[in-house]
């Protein structure tokens, strides 16, 4: 059973943090198919957040097809993301590594690299949207 943490200062809404943490757990293989997610009551009792937040997160995960709610029993994982682990995308990883090397050579520091990536990422998302 995984445990959630909440970063109150991160600016990311609580329900999204829950969604991300479930996805990360799935990717890292901490959660596999058939595992039960913590009950709403338990999450709420440890994090002191609104139950609707947790319900919303679980509903979104369910919409994405990652989990399924069984009434009266709990919410269970239906699909693992471990397949889409880093190993499956090795070519992408290598490309990224090469690009990072080029950025360093151009004299960019960590923050500039991150800023460059984020602005391009956002701009691309906006184009799509």
């Amino acid at each position: 059973m995984i445990e959630f943490v909440l970063d109150a200062r991160s600016g990311v809404s609580p329900y999204l943090q829950v969604v991300h943490q479930v996805r990360r757990a799935l990717r890292l293989g901490l959660l596999v198919e058939g595992d039960q997610l913590p009950t709403v009551k338990d999450v709420v009792a440890s994090l002191a957040i609104n139950p609707n937040t947790v319900l919303k997160a679980y509903r979104e995960l369910e919409r994405d097809g990652l989990v399924a709610a069984r009434p009266g029993v709990g919410t269970f994982v239906t699909k693992t993301l471990a397949d889409s682990s880093l190993a499956a995308h090795e070519p992408l990883r290598r490309d990224l590594g090469r690009w990072l090397g080029k950025a360093r050579a151009a004299g960019l520091d960590d923050e500039s690299i991150e800023a460059l990536f984020m602005s391009t990422f956002r701009a691309m998302n906006e184009e799509i949207a």
Partner: protein
Amino acid sequence: MSAIVRTEGVGKKYRRRWALQDCTLDIPEGRVCGLVGPNGAGKSTLLGLTVGLLSPTVGSIEVCGGQPAVSSAQLAKVGFVAQDTPTYAGLTVADHLRMGAHLNPRWDDAAARRRIDRLGLDLRRRAGQLSGGQRAQLALTLGLAKHPDLLVLDEPVASLDPLARREFLQVLMEAVAEEGVSVLLSSHLVSDLERVCDHLIVLVDSQVKVSGDVDELLDTHHRLSGPLREEQGLPSDQSVVWSSHTDRQSTYVVRTDSPILDPAWSVTPLGLEDLVLAYLTATPTPSSASASAGRGLEVLR
């Protein structure tokens, strides 16, 4: 979804001062509703009206489908944890539970004792000897064990240390998850409200400034910053909540249902605390769009 609290033009006057004015609210059930505002804004007055400790000077209020405090059945539907969590200093914890059992028809004694047990409170200890956090937990237990439809809390964690505060909210949220009780709590700590509330009411100077679903509020409020521009220059569907100008730059917090299309503005995300602060510090400006001029202050619903 039916409303758990419905008020219509409610006002409360003490001698010469209006503690609450023109309050019209519709709080849906099944929510945790936060009431935020500076001290003296009228939070305790509004909460006192919902539990029937006060009666309105004007207007009407309906709680759980009935008039507050009018009958035993009505009182059973609403639980209340007052400010400073009052308890009988001379009575023991066990006495308090017994009082609850005798005086409340829906009292769940087993659940109450289980909770007290989990909290580690000694049944034979007098309430006056408990710490602030323990007293607050006792008051919360008393409020929850009577199985109300609505639990009202007046700044329950204001005087508690961080650990006690967290424990209090944990117990409260667990009860909401388990029993589906609606909650109305007031606080001037927005960070706590951010965690637990999904509905928000902002009260400033005895008037309701804004009230609504937290997600909806966050979606419809935006912070815009850009070159200096007068308020009149903004589109009519954007109502200004707060503004600040330097000689070159203007920053606005606006409320709008439509997207911000003007490329001159850079839109930055607005957290709940910033949103509340915008309403708390809003300077009275004549509204460009709204026809409710003559009042100076924007009253948004």
